[in-house]
Amino acid sequence: MQDSSNIASYTQNHSLDNKEIERYGRQLITPDIGVQGQMLLKAAKVLIVGAGGLGCPVALYLAAAGVGMLGIVDYDTVEIGNLHRQIGHRESSTGVPKCESLAAQIKELNSLVETKTFNTVFTSDTAIDIIKQFDIVVDASDNVATRYLVSDACVLTKKPLVSGSALKWEGQVTVYNYNNGPCYRCLFPVPPPAETVTRCSDGGVLGPIVGVIGSLQALETIKIINNNPQNGVLSGRLMIYDGLAAVFRTVRIRSKQASCQVCGDNPTITQLIDYTQFCRSNYSESAGK
């Protein structure tokens, strides 16, 4: 390789082997990554909640970057109707659990990455035990109840949460519960009335929108893992993408709220509750089938 001398200067005194240097060379010469960053990625354990439109690019980019352990939770199976936006699955995986289908693609892309699949509904009963096995959680789910559940569980287990969402031509990204920043409930103490929630199955969603938002989530995850002081992690800020207008807006949001029921000064929620009842909706889009 033309750049072997350049890479070599970055890779003294490390514990990466030659295979890893060959694979990650052009990544670890990126300023603020370096060998130290690559070793942090290798040691990191990230849980991805949802193996759908957002979960696919999140998983593929984190696997490609060399995150050592990726957990994937999804109870659903691959359908042809997913493939217009879920680029981590294949036609041949129709009927296969999404977490297994995505883990198989990850293995083909980067066999150095370990995956843990959870082919189950993420509920108040299962969430804490699963999350405890990881350092960082990515919310790539598709419904309100799961979003409250994931956020509360991250507060209770003290894990940063990289949250993305999308619908139609729009997407939103932010990081919760990071460095004393706000949690989902700080922003949204009361769930939205069920009739105001548009689901992807009703409103549609475009593949490149989840591609943009999922890629943004993957990068924020890498920044949290790398933990460089100059990393402008998207905490206390919300990024909004309007794909039809081709406009991004990054807005300042409130800090951690003393009055928050789960992360505030006098929390009243000290264990997980029934989120389907709280939100008057199901843990999954397709549960209404």
Partner: protein
Amino acid sequence: MKVTVELSGGLELLFDKKKTHTLEFADKDEIPLRDLILYMRDNLLKERAELFVVDNTVRPGILVLINDADWELYDGIEYIVKNGDTIIFISTLHGG
């Protein structure tokens, strides 16, 4: 006074599918945000007002931004809107 109101996350569907509205109040040089929200409900919304306002404030799940910052960083609904302000209403998305 002139106020720019922007809607996103699907809220624009309640407002004639228009994402940006410019409101002029010839007789005022400021307006409480609370009154602006009720004005929007009564004058710009044609139907299903409960998808925007509940109990005289925006319904749960809507973030309100005053010049690109969360209204909680100001006085929330008590904020006094001034000439040239941009108020953004964002419905949070849940899909993926």
